[in-house]
Amino acid sequence: MNWFLKGTLTATLLTMGGVGAMAAPGVTEDKIVLGAVDPLTGPPSLLGKAHSLALKVWQEDVNARGGINGRKVEIVFEDDGYVPARSLQSLKKMVEVDDIFALIATSGSSQLAAMMPLIDELGIPALNNMAVNSHQFNPPLETLFVVGPTYCQEIAAGMTYLVEELGLKDEKYAIAFQDDEFGDDVRCGYLAGVEKYGLDNVLELEFKRGQKDFSAEMLKARAAGVTVLVSGGVVAEHSTLLKEAAKNRMDITFLGQHSAHLTPVQALAGSAGDGYYAADYVPALNSLEVPGVARFMDLANKYLSESEMDSLNRYALAGYAGAMIFEHAMTECGEDLTRACVVKKMEGLDGFETDGLFGPVTYGDGVRHAPTAVMVLQSNAEDKTFSIVSERMEVE
């Protein structure tokens, strides 16, 4: 039975795969095929769904405007469920079966790490705007472009805001970080801030991934008299830390990295979720004073259903802005759209603006990381929004 299934599958795929020769893979007279790997199922789908919906909105919009130099854009979405082995498998499938031109969504950092050898080998232009990690550009791959600060840079900028704008120089600082690479990155930013301003670092709390109960950790913090807490949680951890602090009657200033900039984090923390700070490199969905946000929300309202609108969050903005960068590079290449050309155009970006969604994007020869700029947002639990409270801090 299985041989039959496999045989049918093979036959179907083989017939599908037989397309005529093209100038560049994924590019025909009237079509460009792009690939997107995102976690669309399971708990991380919080990120993946928003990201892919934004790409869908961009696709509809570009095609409504006539496509890129007359070619319509077609995005193939693959779900990797946040498992690195599946990400690699999806990429292989997209290269073989769908013949993609480039990759505009690369899922999380371990997922991208699994795909990097193949991206490098085949020279597929790829853009990562979701999970930034120094391994991705140190050493740089010719065709992989990363936009957005590392957590280290993000939190360091956040710390700058805490000290310089809020004047929290003499407080007792603590950090809660996860026991993995992501946590280490957050801690790096924290220590950078501590060192720069000579802050009083009283406690470093390491916790295990997936941990739900932080009572012991927060008791330690209370005993140490902590007044500023930097949080390296994923999503729910931020809320639990906030709630534990409130429960223990601790009056703390809370700073999270960009995953704290999500409405579920606010909602889950209840009343404790008001007034905390999050450092991010994209504005809030309700920051309509930013032209990019206003335009995206307009388009989203036009092309998405109500329930899909509910799934949007900051990952959607990052995805849309990333797509804008790619659109620019592809448009610049004109009729003769090849992978080499797109890579060249991306490389040549210098201070490229995305209508306020990202800070200025700059790449260069051998430079594949554009940290752009970081801003700090504050949570308003009552109307479930975030507001930008700081200036844009450009990151080197």
Binding site: T41, G42, P43, P44, S45, L46, K49, D179, E206, F207, K208, G210, Q211, K212, D213, S215, A216, E217, L219, K220, A223, V235, A236, S239, T240, K243, A246, K247, N248, R249, P264, V265, A267, L268, G270, S271, A272, S311
Partner: protein
Amino acid sequence: MDYFILLTVSGIAIGVIYGLIGMGYALIFKATSVVNFAHGEIMMLISYMAFSIASSWTLPFWGLLLVCVFISAIVGLVIERVFIRPMLGQDVFSTVMVTIGLAVMIRAVVVLIWGADPLLLPTDIGDSGVEFGLVFLYTSQLYAIGLLAFCVLGMWVFLRFSRMGVAMRATAARETTALLMGINVTHVYAIAWAIAAVIAGISGVLLGTIYGLGPDLWTQGLRAFPAVILGGLDSVFGAAISGILIGVLENLSEGYIGQGLKEISGFLVILVVLMIRPYGLFGTPEIERV
């Protein structure tokens, strides 16, 4: 000393929840010799259902709990009838694998219906807490302690004095003989699953109130395994007590030694204890006749 007390109290607070979850595992194992790997998922399902109910009607906490008890009993009965009853007569291991398959299914269903965002269970005691001198506890955590005591007492009374309870003990001891004595074993199974589901529902609502809901709530079910193994897979009271022990142990080891030891201290402990008492602290040794 203060620190120690604080850690112990918060350990008890999480431990009672482990104890409740463990009681569910133990009850099903006791009655049917099956380890129900879907227990955490059933707990998650019922807590999400509670979320839907609490979002539509504002109920006081106890009202919500009561409604959940009803729903859990029905869910437990349905699952037993549809998935477990047909496996009667087959190898225990196969039934265990069915519960694993069931777990996968429930996980997918929960995300299908409620999405993957973390959610807050809206109850009227949500954020309120109580202060006992040094110690702060959420009202819900106090309720949890009370509910565990209530469930333990209730189970004791049920198993000791009620007809169905005695029948359950008889089935657990010797199933074939119980059948010969006229006990309706299928009814016993159904009731065992229903009660276990009720306990799961209660722990689910408590977890949801204290920590919020998320599509990974089922991992808390796994965290309760050390509790039920330590107490002995077939000892309901053992599970309750070991739950508290494990909760305290986790917090103490995290508080004094740190390094994320909280997660694995439970498992390390059961490794050691099992070598000394292979059936757990309170479990009944299986007598094998060759």
